[in-house]
Structure formats: structure tokens, C-alpha cells
Symmetry: C2
Subunit: 500 residues, 2 copies
């Protein structure tokens, strides 16, 4: 007897009926130039439609942001079905992609024997107050809590990590190799479709002063790319050292305290015009000759040229040469280039800095990091040598989409148990329960048409469809269909859960 003919009850289909159709147009904002490692524009594969249109929330006062919302008339005052501006929901298909990426982050971290840590997404604002004029500290998502404390949805994770290292004090043995995956936030007043949150994978090594630490971090990034199917012809990692700039500043007798500020200005090279950079540098008190010297050195793309300029004893030169030698040993030399223009936008970097970029030059930096040997003293602790990187979920998804490397991740269920006859609910539930006890994922279906069940089985990639109906049950059997092969047979209930 076939499955179809064993159906005795046809139950009407259930449908979700909602007043306003919620399929929003996937309109994209105009393309923008981004070169910063931060939140991706909305052309990314995850939740692209979130921000571009918003159903107006009648219950709230008009917003003072520039508001691109579309008002949708609804006699029942539909709540705003979109998440807050610049944030994302993760429906199942997006969540599978996110989990796939995060699992790769975790697996690479495991290979390098890093330990996972986490910190509150809400932090004290004091951790992020620093000089240098960084974009990240100018776009803090900060506010005052009800107790009058200044708090912030963290824009980055490194300060929290440093805080915990200081808190743990002598109870930890250095070096620490820690990773974390967490959400970071920013608030930009004029937000035209740009995101206010992203997730970031951080890896940090605390307590190693040698360049071997940076070499380990870059190894992690290269291993990650490899796992995602990205090759060294797709992406490269540009490397320089802040000590290059430091040497130039010393050459021109520019005081040490201007270092961070100069770095943040110089990092804008290529994003704003050279005039703007020159003006900003001179405003800080840097002479015109020094400005020219800085810009000249930053155009260098060869280590031997750098050695000619700074001398072979210069720390920037010896650090970089060490790193390139280590890269050869690790076997990832083809992924890296020296590029003196890499400075990175965070004020606290002190040594090697690096960023990964797509070789076609279409996207912002994929990830970035560097050495920050003097961050701890800004928090009032003794300094500890440290380096790390942040790897966001934004640009990497853009790149994977571009390269056709996004995996096709489907829902995956082992068994569907379909109850054909209501009075057999007892045996059906016993089957469901015992299959789950053996570790199989089981979806129990009743009150549906067989046609729906087959479509559902396909959609969720079920391995087996188990039909519990009267005609088989009278003989103590249930009907099984193997969906891949379309084989159908009857088995006793016990045999379903026996190891095959």
C-alpha cells in the first residue's frame, strides 16, 4: 500500500494571514566609498533589507534623525516590524550563515590554542575616552544610565580585554592567548543605511613582546581564509609598523605626545584628499617639512627601500624583516606585502600594524590589527606587551558573496514523524521521544496534508519520513520512506530506533 492511499483524514492547511504584506523591497542605498574596517553597507548578504525601508511606528514621536521611513497605513496601528535603525534580525537562513562563519572563527582559534572569553556589550564610557581623534571614539553609542553613570555599547573589544587582564592580575600566567566573538556598536547621527552594529572576532596575545606573536595572529587570519575558500590571489595582508612613523617623527623632532594623533590623521590617507591630511597635520604643530617627510615614507612599498631610508638598525626595519622571515617559515609569505601606508585608525597601536584587503580593491579592509604595547598604562596598570586583531562579519560576507563562496546551508532534520490517525498520537509520540533519545532530530507533524508534508520534508532535508497510520499499526508496524532514494518499507516500532 502506498503512503498516499493510507491517508484517511485530510485536514485543512494552516496559513499565516497578516494584514500588511511584510515582504519589503530590497532597495539598496547608493554605493559609498568605505575603506575603514567597520560596519558593512547594506549590500551584504545578511539581512540586506533591514534598514532600507521602515514601517512607521505610529506610537512614537517623530524622530530627529534623517528618516527614510515609509509610512504604511494600517487601521490597527501595526508596530514597527523592523529592528531599530542600523540593526539586524537573523531569521533562520541568516543565522545559519552567521553560525557557519562563527564556527570557522572558533575552529581557527582552537587550532591556535586560543581560549574563548567574553565581556559585557555594555561598558563604562571611561574605557573608551582617549586622545587622538579616532572615528571609533567620536561615534560612541554612549548614554547615561538611570544611576547617572556614563555607559556605552562598546565600539570595540580590546579595552574590555585589557580591563579583565588587569583585574585577573597575578592569577594568570602569561602569555595569554584569548579570543572572543562579540557585537560592537557605533552611533552616527547621519546614518543613511549604514549599520550601527556588527559582530567582531578578536584574537589577542598578551605578554609576548616578540614579533612571533604578530606572526601567529596573521597565521590565524590565513587559516581562516583557507577554510572559507579564499586564496592569496583573492586577498592580501598589508603590513607595516607604527615605528616607521615614529622614526620619521623623531627625524623631524616632533614631540612624542603627538604620535597617536598623527597616526590617526595619516590613517585617512586615500580616504580624504592629501590637502586635508596636510592641513590637519600642520594644525597639530607638525612642520611642512615633516609633513612632506611623513608622506614620502608612507608611499614606500618595499622593505629594502625602507631600510635605505631608516637604516638597518631601525626597529621598524628589524621588526618587519623578522615578521617576513617568520611568514616564510609558517608558509604564508604569498599572502603578505609590506606597505608603509598602513597605519590603522586606532590610537593605541605602537608597533606592527596589518590589514587584510581584497586584491581587486573593491571593499574596505576585511580585518585589521597590530601591536599595542602601551595600552595597559593608559588604564593605570604596568604595561604588558600585547597585540591583536579584529575581524568583522561585514566585509568578509561581501567578499564571499562576490566570489561565490557563500555556502548553501539548508535546514537539516533527521526524521519527520507524520501522524495520520489522531488516535495513534500515543504511539507516534513514543516514537518521537525514543528517536530523540538516540540523538536524532525529529519533527512531529500532524493536521497537515500529505502533499505539504512531502514539500516540508524536502525543505528541511529530512532523511526519513515515518508515517504512523492505522493500516500499518494494526500489524504493529509503521511505514518508512527514505527520502533520498524514495525507498518505502514497513518496520516495527523498535527497529526505528535500533542503530542501523
Amino acid at each position: 500500500m502506498s503512503i498516499a492511499s493510507s491517508i484517511e483524514h485530510i485536514i485543512p492547511r494552516l496559513y499565516l494571514s497578516l494584514k500588511p504584506p511584510a515582504s519589503l523591497p530590497r532597495a539598496l542605498p547608493p554605493p559609498r566609498e568605505h575603506r575603514r574596517l567597520f560596519f558593512r553597507p547594506l549590500s551584504s548578504p545578511i539581512a540586506a533589507s533591514v534598514d532600507s525601508t521602515a514601517i512607521k511606528d505610529n506610537a512614537r514621536p517623530p524622530s530627529t534623525d534623517d528618516d527614510t521611513s515609509v509610512s504604511v497605513a494600517s487601521e490597527r496601528s501595526l508596530v514597527d516590524v523592523n529592528p531599530p535603525r542600523g540593526t539586524r534580525d537573523f531569521p533562520p537562513e541568516d543565522m545559519r550563515l552567521r553560525n557557519w562563519l562563527f564556527n570557522n572563527f572558533r575552529e581557527v582559534s582552537r587550532l591556535l590554542s586560543f581560549e574563548e572569553v567574553d565581556f559585557p556589550v555594555l561598558e563604562s564610557e571611561a574605557l573608551f575616552i582617549r586622545k587622538g581623534g579616532e572615528e571609533i571614539t567620536q561615534q560612541l553609542y554612549n548614554f547615561e544610565d538611570k544611576g547617572g553613570r556614563r555607559v556605552v555599547l562598546r565600539p570595540e573589544i580590546t579595552p574590555s580585554l585589557a580591563r579583565l587582564v588587569i583585574k585577573q592580575g597575578k592569577s594568570v600566567s602569561l602569555p595569554l592567548k584569548w579570543f572572543t566573538i562579540g557585537q560592537c556598536w557605533r552611533y552616527e547621527r547621519m546614518t543613511r543605511g549604514r549599520r550601527r552594529e556588527h559582530y567582531q572576532w578578536n584574537m589577542d596575545i598578551i605578554g609576548l613582546s616578540k614579533v612571533r606573536a604578530e606572526a601567529e595572529l596573521i597565521h590565524a587570519i590565513v587559516l581562516l581564509f583557507g577554510r572559507l575558500g579564499i586564496t592569496s590571489s583573492d586577498v592580501g595582508i598589508r603590513i607595516s609598523s607604527r615605528k616607521v612613523l615614529q622614526a620619521v617623527l623623531q627625524l623631524h623632532s616632533i614631540p612624542e605626545h603627538l604620535f597617536a594623533e598623527v597616526c590617526v590623521i595619516v590613517d585617512k590617507m586615500g580616504k580624504v584628499s592629501r590637502d586635508v591630511i596636510e592641513n590637519e597635520l600642520m594644525t597639530t604643530g607638525v612642520s611642512i617639512e615633516a609633513v612632506k617627510g611623513i608622506i614620502e615614507v608612507l608611499s614606500l612599498k618595499s622593505l629594502s627601500k625602507l631600510e635605505e631610508v631608516l637604516g638597518s638598525e631601525d626597529e621598524a626595519v628589524t621588526d618587519l624583516k623578522s615578521l617576513f622571515l617568520l611568514a616564510e617559515h609558517y608558509g604564508y609569505i604569498q599572502w603578505i606585502n609590506f606597505d608603509a601606508s598602513v597605519v590603522r585608525g586606532l590610537a593605541y597601536y605602537t608597533g606592527i600594524v596589518f590589514e587584510a584587503f581584497d586584491r581587486e580593491g573593491k571593499l574596505r579592509a576585511i580585518c585589521g590589527g597590530g601591536r599595542y604595547d602601551r595600552l595597559f598604562s593608559t588604564f593605570g596598570s604596568d604595561d604588558i606587551p600585547a597585540c591583536g586583531f579584529g575581524f568583522g562579519d561585514a566585509v568578509i560576507f561581501e567578499l564571499l558573496k562576490e566570489k561565490g563562496l557563500l555556502p548553501d546551508l539548508n535546514r537539516q532534520v533527521d526524521d519527520i514523524v507524520f501522524l495520520l490517525d489522531e488516535e495513534l498520537e500515543g504511539p507516534a509520540l513514543k516514537i518521537v521521544s525514543s528517536l530523540r533519545q538516540t540523538g536524532r532530530s525529529v519533527d512531529l507533524i500532524q493536521d497537515k496534508r500529505l502533499k505539504w508534508v512531502f514539500k516540508h520534508a524536502e525543505r528541511i532535508n529530512a532523511e526519513r519520513l515515518i508515517l504512523v497510520g492505522n493500516s500499518e499499526w494494526q500489524r504493529g508496524m509503521v511505514r518508512v520512506k527514505i527520502l533520498a532514494t524514495r525507498d518505502e518499507f514497513e518496520v516495527k516500532m523498535d527497529e526505528l530506533t535500533a542503530p542501523s
Copy 2:
């Protein structure tokens, strides 16, 4: 030749030297009575010390909260090393426990063929504005963003889930079985050591009106307990239905619109005195006879008694009887009890409600949930039958600790590669790189004493210690020590990465 005698360079140990010792006293706040499912007190195993002491942050204005901080003099103005009041850091040992619990949440969700979803931790306040006087909406962690929008660090996840279901509209096929694990927040002005955040596992079934949906949810909870080593003599699940109260209200002609408010008041039974409950009920306009009737019915602990009072045709009675029958089929009847006093504190429940509790009665509810068939219309959509539960990370960890069921989770690394002679850095890195390529987690150590390395190997449960030193390398070999058996031997580099 032994490993010890192959050491040629003894390198000084690195130590983390910080001014203020950061080992904070694990002082606990006085025990309090909690019966709500929410944030655990600080006696929980994870990050117990976070809130009890705080190093004062000199950079910030004095707080208006009741402040139990201890001022620690520091000539270098040490930043506050604690996370914000009521929040936690997760150092590696706590993170392992958290991951262990979350992986169990995920695995049970997989067994039940639920799909993972996620939502922003920051939501529009409008989603949580509702009548009924719930504690959860009175303790919102809300604020105005810089664009003048009212936002909130979400206190619970269900409203976001409903929002996304409405947004997806007809593109999704019902029923939906979704789960999520996310952080939830609250703000209580007088916070004496109570936490402001917790993580919550949510499972929800959208689009099933039958009690079978609730039975599935309870199956998930029971499977989770089983995986954690908790038995039905440790915990039970109390079950009732809001329809019990509804029937009583109808009996006394109390208007429908008072239902949610009455439920929230009645939920406080056992937490505040009976007088307070009676007064609050009468303030809403409920007659003294009705109050007596409500309190009488809520004391029922037997379904047959309930049937006597409400009649066998009453929906509360038929729903509950169905659920108990299903529980027998699933095989978890020993976990559940009928208890009319279970109401749950959320305004939107409409039918079956349940909560898990420790049978010794020491702790607050471990998890709780119920049916919320009328939530969607409060958001302006058509109603959709739905039910779900929230399972926090707080009480379960207390219970596991109490029962001695917390697993001993150690860091786990496959190989340590220890570089004995600096000039062999090249071969050592090749070994590290190729071992990682085969999927082994590898920690590379240099500049340490052998004694430290052995201690480290023990601490991280390394399987093998691989020593790269001149004496072996001259013969093209490295030295391997299997740490469990203490076997030592020499192998060629290639043999290290060959599958054993």
C-alpha cells in the same frame, strides 16, 4: 637522552606584574528570597565576585546609585577593572561553562528540529510597553538614543520574535519552531548585588493551537535536564492554565480587560503577603467574593478537584487533561504536576503556563513559559496561536552547583611545540603550521623554562610535547613526549603530521 638534559638555554620567566592585586574577595550579598524567573544572585558559579567589590574609577562623577564600591588608592588612577555594575566578564573558565550550557541548549533544540534565530539586544521601547504592571516592564533598561528614539536593552525575547514573524509575513510556512540564546537586561535602581543581565534560551512554536505544542516545549526542557544530569527527583515542572483564572473571573462577572492585570497580581502569591494581594486585587475593582474565589481555586493541586470546580467541559480542564495524557505518551509524566497557583508574571499568557522548580524549594523558578495566543494582535497583526518558554542561565547554574553537577571543564590542546634553540625557529614553525593544517590545536612555546612548559602542558591537558632542539635536529629528528603515558621517543618531522 632525556628532555631535561637537552635544554641548552634557560630563559628567565616572564611574569605579569601589576600594582594592585586584583584578587577580589568573594563576598556574597545576604541571601534573598527570589521566586521570579530572572537574574540570579551572586552565589552562582559564574563570575560570582563581579559585583561585590568595585575599584573606584576616579575619572567619573560620584554615582547616585547606592554604591557599595571600595575605594582603592592608586597613584596611577587605575581604571575601574570591573565590568559595569550587575554585569559579568567571562574569563576562560567561566566561558567554558557557558559554552557547555549553551551547547546543551543548542543540541536539545536540534533534537526537536527547532531553527536558531537572533534579534538585536537593543530594541524599540514600544515593543515592551503594555498594560498589566509586570515587573519586567517596570524595570526596563531603557533610554533615549541620540536621534531622540526610545530604545531599550531588551528584557525578554518574545516580542522581537513576534515582530520578526509579522515582518516575514506570508513568506514563512507555519508552524515555525524557533529557538534563540540571547542576553536580556533589566535596570533596577536599588541594585544590591543583583544582576542586570542574564542569558536566556528561548524556544517558541508559532502557528500551533493544540496543546501538543506545549507538550513539545516541555519535552525540550526534560531532555535538557537529562543531558545536564538532573533527574525528576531533583526538579519538577508545575503546570496550570490561565484559563483557570479566566473561568473564575467569568464566574464572578469580572470584565475581560482586567485579566492580564489580575494575572500579574496573582503571580506574586507566595512572594508578598496575602493581604497585599487581596488589596491590589480589590483596587482593580474585583469584589471581595471574587478575590476569595480566585485564591481558593489557586490553591488546588489536583486536576480532578479542578474538574469538580470548573466542570469537565471547561477549556482549562480539557487542555490540562490533554497535556497530562501527552506527557504520558512522551514518557515524562513523572516530571510534571498540576498546580493551580502557577500563573507566571508575563501579561501576555493566555493558556497553559508552566515553570520548572527545584523540588527542595531553595531556588527561584528555573525556567518558565506558556501560551500567548493574543500577543500578535497587540502588535496590530492578526493573532497567531503561539507558545514558548525562557530558560535563563542563572538558576540552572545555581542548581547544578548545588547538586555537584557542574562539569570539570579544562582547556584542551593537542600539541605543545617547544622551541629549545632559537636558530631552529624555522623548522619549529613548519611543524606548528603543518600540525594545524591537519586539524590539531598547537601551542608554540619559546623563551620559557622547561619546568614552566611541563606545568603548562599539564594545565592545558596537552596530549604531546614536541621539543625542537639542536641535538635531535642534527639527526633530522624532534623529540616527542606523550604526556599521559610519559613515553618519550624521537621521530622525523614528517611522521609528526602523518595520521597515526
